[in-house]
């Protein structure tokens, strides 16, 4: 399994990709790495920080892998895409290029993961699955305490730079 390295405010976490289950999504993500940007904390899905992809790093991938009904576990790294149609109103907390179409990497760093309103959104799932994609493609190995703490700080202290890299095997 390929591995990813997440770097946030001096802390790190390593995630294992699910190459065997969602190979195309893993390939597509691998190919845009490294990516970096200002991660923001979630306000519907509880313990999650999100990195919005922009420019040539935008990924528009079809659904892949087992159907997810919004059930999420701590450590999940999810590729999330939403078509402009599915956005409502203005997203003042996001940068101006992420107002309608969203392409992002979501890092669920603790409990509850996917809790809150996101867990009660049957309206968004199902029928229009081509308009919204959420693919679980990696899992953090043993979420480091400092990394989780840094993610929590994003909620209180604002945006924090997140870098996602390939963790290359040493020769």
């Amino acid at each position: 399994m390929r591995k990813l390295l997440f770097e946030l405010g001096g802390t790190r976490a390593v995630a294992e990709m699910h190459d065997d289950v969602v190979p195309k999504t893993c390939d597509a993500v691998w190919n845009v790495l490294p990516v970096e940007g200002m991660a923001i904390h979630a306000n519907w899905s509880s313990r999650e920080i999100m990195l919005h992809l922009h420019g040539e790093n935008i990924l528009r991938l079809p659904p892949e892998g087992p159907v997810r009904r919004g059930t999420t576990a701590p450590g999940d790294i999810v590729y999330f895409w939403r078509s402009p149609q599915m956005s409502r109103g203005k997203q003042l907390a996001y940068s101006s290029q992420f107002q309608r179409e969203l392409s992002e990497l979501a890092v669920f760093y603790g409990d509850p993961a996917g809790g809150g309103l996101a867990a009660d959104d049957p309206a968004r799932s199902g029928r229009d699955s081509n308009l919204q994609v959420a693919t679980l493609f990696a899992t953090i190995i043993d979420i480091p305490k400092e990394f989780a703490q840094k993610c929590e700080e994003v909620r209180h202290n604002g945006l924090q730079r997140l870098v996602v890299r390939r963790l290359e095997r040493s020769a």
Binding site: Q85, M86, S87, R88, G89, K90, L117, D120, D121, P122, A123, R124, R127, D128, L131
Partner: protein, 163 residues
């Protein structure tokens, strides 16, 4: 036409919604910046005279069935709680719900949220709706006419362009 964004410097168009038998009306702003395609499609259907009924699942909401062939893709999707005055378009295909609420399995609808404590839903729970307008004046009187439908039943609803 529906692919072109309207000039943002032009103020959003408005519609008048009324219960002609009661002499009650309200004015709503089309949310054209957020929901351009749905607003355009609805605008071109006006004026519309439909039968409005009080919703049984959602709280303070009335709905009117449109021609089932008037199918629009989702846009400016609202899934959590609306605010009073919100007006939305909604479509469900055949057999989506268990049973046929209001006698219709497949349905294209306009819904009007006239007071708080409301969430658009059906037998399977909350539903995603396309939020395309919001009542900007005379909501209070209009809301009373909507609530009245709980006791007195369906009413004719007229939706017109406000030129």
């Amino acid at each position: 036409m529906s692919d072109q964004r309207r000039d943002p410097h032009v103020l959003s168009r408005k519609i008048r919604i009324s219960f002609p038998d009661d002499g009650i009306s309200a004015v709503a702003d089309l949310l054209e910046e957020d929901c351009p395609n749905t607003c355009e499609a609805i605008w071109h259907r006006l004026p519309l005279r439909v039968k409005a009924i009080h919703d049984i699942w959602s709280g303070h909401q009335v709905l009117a069935h449109l021609d089932n062939k008037f199918v629009l893709p989702p846009e400016n999707v609202l899934t959590y709680l609306p605010i009073p005055g919100d007006i939305f378009y909604y479509y469900r295909p055949h057999n989506y719900f268990r049973g046929s609420p209001y006698g219709r399995s497949e349905s294209a609808e306009i819904g009007i949220v006239y007071d708080r404590d409301t969430r658009p839903q059906g037998p399977r729970g909350p539903e995603a709706v396309s939020l395309f307008a919001n009542i900007s004046s005379s909501l209070e009187g209009f809301a009373r006419a909507c609530e009245d439908m709980i006791y007195r039943g369906q009413k004719d609803l007229l939706i017109e362009k406000l030129e």
